[in-house]
Symmetry: C2
Subunit: 447 residues, 2 copies
């Protein structure tokens, strides 16, 4: 299909009519498709069902001889559970904490503790030093941004390059002492799928921050979530920060939410010895300890990092066809149209779809009207505001393959329809600047 | 045995010698007894072993049809899990949240959210209004006090009467607008075992607080933990506060940590609709949701509040002999000596032992030297400081019955030895005011 922008108004009008007929046909099917969130599919969850019977046979004793059912033990969680992710986290088990079912909660608590108590190397609590801000590579993860919004932490967007954040921009911005943190999803980034380059990691570890207590919030959520044989791995951030002279800089997170169970996995936190002492001291005021039985279940089921790898191979077999289906449907319909570009991730849970400026909300709206729920436009940006209104996050993992294929075709159709509408509206504007423009249309120029 | 204070110095010296011989005989046995924490025993944990196999047979669908393994659902947790404790909490399920394995964490998070965001009805966040303080009935629970200490919340001790806090004192203190909260363990209080009287509950709900956003932290940790047929129940704090015109006053907590598993139970939070909206809004920034599989396990195993009651009857059968053993050993040795008094709780996990002023640390020290670990003296008071150094918390639930009996005998011996020492030291002081007194002895007068 040729680039839409080069077509005549007549051709575009005909295309729009054709798209609308297809659109109405889809609407008539009464679809109920949900591509909003990066959730594992039931088939993926089935891979770990054997875990749920474990510890039921009286096997409730930890390696150190504790009764996992009772109170007690370290707030850092079972060493044998920490060991499961030592490789993925790039840290020794002494520098790892394993908690309950949410790594997001560990990130949240790091920020809360920093706000109320300060972090090692800081002169005061972050609350006392407000206003403070975080660097936010965009597009990014809405739940990261929501924590900043909740606590009045300003968010400064930083562009991503395809190999991590634009480090020239980061190095300039981080010199401001009010910048206390930076969100990073360094591997198979949410939602772009990109992997931070070795050079980006090196510079993140070596850059001079204005704040002595600046922290990288290194959410390695997709550390073992490969979609190709390459099994790429981002460079070790602990090594980079140690080499840069900032050993306390990284707060590293991971979880098994997309390894075992979305709702009942394990969250991990890894950091320097000083940071770990700080975090454990705070966390032991909050709770007597994490759910050790669930940690023990994971240990018995996954065994070790090799067990994790084998399980992730099974996940990959279920996920790859879905990613391929989306890529195929988008290519079939959109290649060459200039209406969109999209990522081809080597891992992770998302495909990022960038379309014509000012089209993303319209595509979500069009999709909703035919029963296809998409992540809200803007969700990938701080405060839910994508200034270009062009980026959508596609989450193909949860629905069955047939639905994913259908949803991807529907998305492509909506993108094409929105693009055609936008181009026609712009031409109307150019031809008759004072004419009435239908409500809800965006009028920014196409890129 | 007659009151020690009435004995001659000669008699006391002989008693001390006899006690010391018994003490050395105990030391020679090389005991390793731990009565420090209110942990269930392995036999109690065995009562819930069947729960660990549940959900393993594919039974992973919630009442609303959700897959409990995955992300999703309400941050308030499964309604059917909330229903398990609706009776104990005295609230409808819409006003209940069920979380992960720690009610302490829910209390902590309420305080953190109040500090950073404020609570409904408040004019500002609690951090902005510092200095703030909490009323702390003493003796109380060390982990409550530790949260206040962590966040610089001043603690104002309030005496307990045997039927709840001294309400004249509470009403006077709460008029101060810097008083933002009050810790209450209203039923089988930790550690005194007392139950707040209906009148105390009524006055707590009706009293005029200086702060418009004052909150009762109502930790009903032992709501279903009866030791007698009476199954007493504290009055409903929601009713009392509604009657008083303060429906948003109570933050209510409970857990199954001492129903199913100490480390892998469920924590509950109940409050007014406004407070619940506030808490859920905060909590949904922190985590995508609680571990629903563990909630489902509890639902399948406990079934309903009647199932909870039946299980607690089994706990009681294991616990009552231990409480009786302690009471018996203390009575045998200490009745009539004036050296100590202790509680006879109708429920809960603790016995409180009050001894001669200035003796508690010495008793803990004496016990430690013969291999018996006791909760540190002072732990029952804010900042770990018991100004009278007289109160110890005895936790008889975890060790086997034979060890509990032996430990109680050892405690009685240590109390008697400490009392004899103290009386003799005081007489030396009186007889020869300038004489050297051996280090480590307390010199306060006995009551």
């Amino acid at each position: 299909m040729s680039d839409l922008a080069n077509r005549s108004t007549q051709e575009l009008s005909e295309l729009r009519e054709q798209m609308l007929r297809e659109y109405e046909a889809l609407r008539a099917r009464g679809l109920r498709l949900d591509m909003t969130r990066g959730k594992p599919s039931p088939e993926q969850l089935d891979l770990s069902m054997a875990m749920l019977s474990l510890a039921g046979n009286g096997d409730i004793t930890t390696e150190s001889g504790e009764d996992a059912r009772n109170y007690g033990g370290s707030s850092q969680g079972l060493p044998e559970a920490r060991a499961l992710f030592a490789n993925a986290l790039g840290a020794p088990i002494d520098q790892i904490l394993v908690g309950n079912n949410s790594s997001l909660a560990l990130m949240h608590d790091c920020i809360v503790f920093a706000l109320l108590k300060g972090v090692p190397g800081g002169r005061a609590s972050w609350s006392e030093e407000k206003p403070i801000s975080f660097l936010c590579p965009v597009p990014g993860y809405d739940r990261h941004f929501a924590i900043c919004e909740e606590y009045g932490i300003q968010m400064i967007p930083v562009p991503l390059t395809g190999e991590g954040p634009d480090m020239d921009v980061v190095e300039r911005l981080v010199a401001d002492p009010s910048v206390k943190g930076m969100w990073c999803v360094p591997q198979y980034s949410n939602p772009t799928g990109e992997i931070y380059s070795d050079e980006a990691v090196r510079r993140l570890g070596a850059m001079r921050s204005g704040a002595s207590d600046f922290r990288l919030f290194w959410d390695n959520a997709y550390a073992v979530h490969h979609l190709t044989d390459e099994s790429r791995k981002v460079a070790n951030i602990f090594d980079a920060c140690a080499a840069g002279g900032y050993p306390d800089r990284p707060f590293v997170f991971a979880s098994t939410s997309k390894v075992t169970f979305g709702g009942a996995g394990l969250g991990f936190f890894a950091s320097s010895p000083a940071n770990m002492r700080w975090f454990v001291a705070r966390m032991s005021r909050r709770t007597i300890g994490p759910d050790k039985l669930n940690q023990l279940r994971h240990v018995r089921f996954l065994r070790d990092s090799d067990g994790v790898r084998k399980l992730m191979d099974q996940h990959r077999a279920l996920l790859l066809p879905k990613f391929d289906a989306v890529a195929g449907a988008l290519a079939t319909r959109l290649d060459g149209t200039g209406a969109a570009r999209w990522t081809h991730p080597q891992g992770g849970y998302f495909i990022t779809l960038d379309m014509m400026l000012g089209s993303a909300r319209r595509v979500v709206e069009l999709a909703k009207e035919i029963g296809l729920a998409l992540t809200p436009a803007g969700a990938t940006h701080p405060l839910g505001q994508d200034p270009d209104d062009r980026t959508l996050r596609i989450a193909p993992t949860n629905p069955p393959l047939t639905e994913v294929r259908l949803a991807a075709q529907a998305i492509a159709l909506c993108v094409l329809l929105a693009a055609t509408e936008a181009l026609l509206t712009n031409r109307e504007m150019t031809d008759a600047p004072h004419s009435q423009v239908s409500a809800g249309r965006r009028m920014k120029a196409t890129a």
